[in-house]
């Protein structure tokens, strides 16, 4: 038996053993057995010293080849076993991906806030700023300066909430300084025009109050969005164009508007605006009470008398104003059966929108 034969035999044994290993540990054991310090290949090579110088190169060459072959086999086997083990680990880690996720949901904005923000953003795009005013207001701003005569029915205590004079400020008997809960956002028109000279482009969202018993279609408190534009050269046509644009943005590109003349004390000419019914597309249905139209807002050209109260020359400046009910828009867009749901705070309702 020559050394070379020994080496060949060891190679054969090693390759067979390596091929049989089934995990990294036994592969390592095989490596030690054949290539380790006390391994069989090493043992054979110890006998190298006994060889003649002529024989050595040939045996050395073979032994190197054998070592390389074993090492290569080990590496190959190692890669294979590692892959198998990874595959096994992954297979053990497989999950049912249809199980629900781990989530912490963000909260939702109230429907009224969502619509308000939407309308405000539309008008911001048209160059309007947002103005605000007090909810508890003077009769002067809520009625008088908006051209409501002293006997106007809306002033009646049956319609408007008045505030008791607890502070003893001596208001009693002076209807001008009566304090009330504003019945519309329109008083902010007057406050803005007192503060700011034209050009004025403002949008006024806010809470308003009327003495209505809460029922599916009424609430004693609700929300309006008022708009006011005053500048030289403004026309009724501009009012139409503006509201056309807004209604399409709010309700959809394909919706139409129509302006019906109406009466409001603080605008003239005045109009009510209808938007075409989105359900029947104008042919008439239960939703639009068979008219094909849904009333959506009131508007008009600022009455010269209102300008008189804020010292603006009505010959020079023209303005338009409009107001819309946010609850009304909500009810129309979402077909909400009962407006009282908007103030109950039911999580199941609030999380829907």
């Amino acid at each position: 038996m020559t050394l070379i034969e020994d080496l060949k035999r060891i190679e054969g044994e090693a390759l067979a053993r390596i091929a049989q290993t089934e995990d990294l540990a036994s592969l390592d054991a095989a490596r030690v057995e054949f290539l380790g310090k006390k391994g069989s290949l090493t043992g054979v090579l110890r006998g190298l010293g006994a060889l003649s110088t002529e024989e050595r190169p040939a045996v050395g060459k073979v032994s190197n080849e054998v070592r390389q072959a074993i090492e290569a086999a080990i590496e190959e086997r190692k890669a294979m076993l590692a892959q198998a083990e990874l595959a096994e680990r992954m297979s053990a880690g497989a999950v049912d991906v249809t199980l629900p996720g781990r989530k912490r949901l963000p909260g939702r904005a109230h429907l009224i806030s969502q619509i308000t923000a939407e309308v405000v953003d539309i008008f911001a795009g048209l160059g309007y700023q947002v103005a605000e005013g007090p909810e508890v207001e003077l009769a002067h701003y809520n009625f008088t300066a908006l051209n409501h005569p002293p006997t106007h029915p809306a002033r009646a205590a049956t319609d408007t909430f008045y505030v008791s004079d607890a502070g003893g400020s001596g208001r009693e008997g002076d209807p001008e300084s009566d304090v009330l809960l504003r019945t519309h956002t329109s008083p902010v028109q007057v406050r803005v025009l007192e503060q700011q000279k034209p050009p004025v482009y403002v949008i006024v969202p806010g809470r308003v109050y009327r003495r209505d018993i809460a029922d599916p279609s009424h609430l004693p408190q609700f929300h309006q969005i008022e708009g006011l534009a005053v500048e030289e050269g403004i026309t009724f046509g501009d009012l139409k164009g503006t509201l056309d644009h807004v209604c399409r943005e709010l309700f959809g590109r394909d919706r139409k508007t129509r302006f019906r003349p109406h009466f409001f004390p603080f605008t003239e000419p005045s109009a009510e605006v209808d938007v075409s019914c989105g359900i029947c597309v104008g042919s008439g249905c239960r939703f639009c009470k068979n008219t094909g139209w849904l009333e959506i807002l009131g508007c008009g050209m600022v009455d010269p008398n209102v300008f008189g109260y804020v010292d603006i020359d009505p010959e020079r400046h023209v303005g338009f104003a409009f107001g819309m009910g946010v609850e009304r828009i909500a009810a129309l867009r979402y077909d909400i059966p009962d407006l009282r749901m908007l103030v109950e705070g039911d999580m199941r309702f609030l999380r829907q929108f």
Partner: protein, 805 residues
């Protein structure tokens, strides 16, 4: 205003269909609220002849009739009326007919006898007339013909919503004028003539007006020898269609003329007016202290001094323009009538009507303004009808007190101005034509101006802009081209404060809270119930006229409303509640007319963030979930110093109650709602709640945050557990650590709080992870160790801590 189409067609040619007319009215400013048919839909009601009328064997009040309706079979009908006999023709509702009241006629047994239909009275057919007996028809009425076809009484009534500026449209002639204008026709005037007797009225009736400001005009006529009786069919139909009940010929005539001409009339029984020198002396004056009046509805009313009355020497006999008095009412025994046609001040009538809660057809018209020029025409119209329909004699002349006759107004319309306001190009001629169609006369002296004369029945047309509106509504708003404002100088942007408000909103939602809106009103008892109070120096804002005691005061805190919502959810099986509200609270301040309004952000948390999941337990929410929301808010708004301080707030559970400070100043509160407060709102504790003043938050919010170096070298992190007295707060320990740590100490994170085994009673262990970091180099253990040990010594000294284990 109810408008009978039959009546309208007598006053103006209507070539449009009802549907087209309704649409045209809608688009020119007169909204149509409804359309309804009368005397129609009477299918199954035919003219019948009573052949036999026998008493009902078992009921004295009923008769058993054999009726011929022109069909093969004769009908047997049980009837309760008595005003007819065999041979009479009457309307018969056969089996299957549906009457206007919704009654469907069926074969029915009445006291043992089968009735195969019903013989009808006029009201049963939705018509005006006597309800006490059958509507007996003329003998020549054709047998078996549908009643509606025979009588020609079918009509369509449209209901108009008349805006407050259009008193003229509260009359048929006014509506006819409007319809003429919007359809390009012309209205036919009502011909009014009256035949008088030679006897002059002056010898029988006198009128005085105390204050012409409250009663600009009062006219009266005397009609003697009237015979009170039922109205003819046409008159009854007209007043019924207009919404009144047919009473008798005199009352119906006054109503008819009011509906026709818009002038309310009142008929006094002349005999009941106190005489002065044999003359029925009428005074129009305000009430004297303590006077009362029993009105037509039988109620005795105490009058206040600002009310206008019609009085004789014995006292008030009518509430001017609102309702007549019972004592002077026309009765079956009335012979002579004093007929009033007057004009009263709109504001005065509206005040009286409202303060007495009495709203009548008359007061509605006076409140909006009645044309004083029309008083006499209405008087003549009614007097003549009383002569022809009630056999009266009209005394010669009219008592007419009209101290300051109202003149027609003259206005100037500049077509150029009109087009500038509207954005149109309407010619002066077109303007003149439109105004002319409305009964205004427009003449032009220059190409730039029209001089417009306004009849007195249009008191709403006072200024040029009023004429602009008239022109555009008839010309057609739909024809005005839609444009956008083209002026310069518009910047659409939210203010800084408004943008911060949106940010607060967004952060609340990102933290998992859902926005809600509660009532601005609260119950006064919420004060005790929630144990909350308005801020120092403020008192609640009370409503003088709340809808109910439960909504009598404006909220001073968002908490009561939010607690109601917590309870609302829990009671409906929704245990996890995460709500926030951004809204105003209100507080009256001494010396200020308007209360202070503060925008608050409030939140409530109850239950867990979610129900237990397969991989996520449901941890019950507590104070620290609320605090986490607030901390997120501070970070998001860039508030440098937000802190909380234990405070005993009565609505919060002691020991879980804190004030929130922003830069050292109070900005609100946070805690768990006191279990007793929660219980009073039927909410299940624990309920975490907070309320912060948004202006305090926004005042300390930072738009621009300074850049800080992002760490480029790793930190050395050492843990440190300190045992301190229970009373020592985490905040104090943290401050001591930060103070002692020097420049190298970067992050301080509390990761455990422990009490129990191994820790003495009354103490707790706080475990901290301390990160040391230098900006420019990686620190070695040797460098950190002495700093850390120095920190331990200092902190132990300042807060009395011992290092654990």
């Amino acid at each position: 205003m109810l408008v009978s189409m039959k009546w309208l067609k007598e006053l103006v040619d209507v070539t449009l269909t009802v549907e087209e007319l309704v649409d045209r009215l809608d688009m020119t400013g007169t909204a149509v609220e409804g359309v309804r048919s009368v005397g129609e839909g009477l299918s199954g009601v035919v003219v019948g002849a009573v052949l036999e009328k026998a008493p009902h064997p078992d009921a004295d009040a009923l008769s058993y009739c054999t009726v011929d309706v022109g069909a093969a079979e004769l009908l047997k009908i049980v009837c309760g009326a008595t005003n007819f006999g065999a041979g009479d023709k009457v309307p018969v509702a056969c089996v299957g007919a549906e009457l206007p009241g919704g009654l469907v006629i069926k074969r029915a047994k009445l006291r043992g006898l089968t009735s195969e239909g019903m013989m009808c009275s006029a009201p049963e057919l939705g018509l005006g007339g006597d309800a006490s007996g059958l509507l007996v028809l003329p003998a020549d009425a054709p047998l078996g013909v549908p009643y509606a076809e025979y009588a020609g009484r079918a009509d369509t009534v449209i209901e108009l919503e008349v805006t407050p500026n259009r008193p003229d449209c509260l009359s048929m002639v006014g509506v006819a004028r409007e319809v003429a204008a919007i359809t390009g026709k012309s209205a036919r005037p009502v011909e009014i003539e009256v035949s008088e007797s030679p006897e002059p009225i002056e010898s029988a009736v006198s009128v005085e007006i105390d204050d012409p400001a409250l009663c600009p005009r009062y006219t009266a006529r005397l009609i003697t020898g009237v015979r009170i009786g039922p109205s003819p069919e046409w008159l009854a139909d007209r007043v019924t269609a207009a919404g009144a009940r047919s009473v008798n010929n005199i009352v119906d005539i006054t109503n008819y003329v009011m509906f026709e001409l818009g002038q309310p009339l009142h008929a006094f029984d002349a005999a009941t007016i106190t005489r002065r020198d044999d003359v029925a002396a009428i005074t129009v004056r305000t009430t004297r202290e303590g006077e009362t009046l029993t009105t037509l509805d039988g109620q005795t009313r105490t009058l206040t001094s600002d009310m206008l009355v019609i009085a004789d020497d014995g006292g008030p006999i009518a509430l001017a323009g609102v309702m007549g008095g019972e004592h002077t009412e026309v009765s079956d025994a009335t012979v002579d009538i004093v007929l009033e046609s007057a004009c009263f001040d709109a504001a005065s009538i509206s005040t009286t009507s409202r303060s007495l809660g009495l709203i009548s057809e008359a007061s509605t018209r006076f409140e909006r303004g009645v044309d004083p020029s029309g008083c006499v025409a209405a008087l003549d119209r009614a007097a003549e009808l009383m002569r022809t329909l009630a056999s009266g004699t009209v005394a010669a002349g009219v008592v007419d007190v009209y101290p300051a006759p109202r003149a027609e107004r003259t206005l100037t319309l500049r077509p150029g101005r009109l087009n500038k306001v509207l954005g149109t190009d309407i010619s002066a001629e077109e303007c003149a034509t439109i105004l002319g169609s409305l009964g205004l006369s427009a003449t032009s002296d220059s190409p730039h101006e029209l001089t417009v004369t306004v009849p007195t029945y249009r008191p709403d047309l006072e200024r040029e802009i009023d004429l602009v509106e008239e022109v555009v509504r008839i010309w057609g708003m739909e024809r005005v081209p839609a444009t956008l404002p083209s002026g310069p100088g518009r910047i659409g942007r939210l203010t800084g404060e408004q943008r911060w408000m949106r940010r607060i909103d967004e952060t609340m939602r990102a933290a998992g809270l859902n926005e809600t809106m509660t009532y601005s009103f609260v119950d006064p008892s919420d004060r005790e119930r929630s144990d909350t109070a308005p801020p120092e120096g403020e008192t609640p804002v009370w409503l003088a006229n709340p809808m109910s005691e439960e909504q009598a005061v404006m909220r001073w805190s968002l908490l009561p409303g939010l607690l109601r919502s917590v309870s609302y959810n829990q009671r409906r099986g929704v245990p996890d509640v995460h709500l926030y509200e951004i809204g105003a609270i209100y507080g009256a301040v001494d010396g200020a007319v308007l209360p202070r309004e503060r925008t608050m952000v409030g939140g409530v948390l109850a239950g867990s963030w979610s129900r237990p999941g397969w991989n996520a337990p449901a941890a019950p929410l507590d104070l620290f979930d609320g605090k986490g929301v607030i901390e997120a808010l501070a970070i998001d708004l860039g508030i440098e110093r937000m802190s909380v301080r234990a405070a005993d707030l009565p609505w919060l559970q002691p020991g879980r109650s804190a004030e929130v400070l922003v830069n050292g100043r109070p900005a609100g509160w946070l805690g768990e709602v006191h279990p007793l407060v929660a219980e009073r709102y039927e909410a299940d504790a624990p309920v975490v709640a907070f309320e912060l003043d948004t202006s305090a938050l926004i005042g300390s919010a930072r738009t621009v945050k300074p850049y800080r170096e992002v760490p480029r070298v790793p930190a050395v992190t050492l843990d440190l557990a300190l045992v301190v007295d229970d009373a020592v707060t985490a905040e104090r320990v943290e401050q001591a650590i930060r103070k002692a740590g020097g420049k190298l100490l970067d992050e301080v994170r509390l990761f455990d709080v422990y009490r129990g085994s191994g820790i003495p009673e009354g103490k707790k262990s706080l475990a901290w992870a301390l990160s040391y970091r230098a900006e420019d180099r990686t620190l070695s253990d040797e460098e950190v160790r002495p700093v850390h040990e120095k920190l331990i010594r200092k902190v132990s000294g300042s807060v009395g801590a011992e290092v654990r284990g």
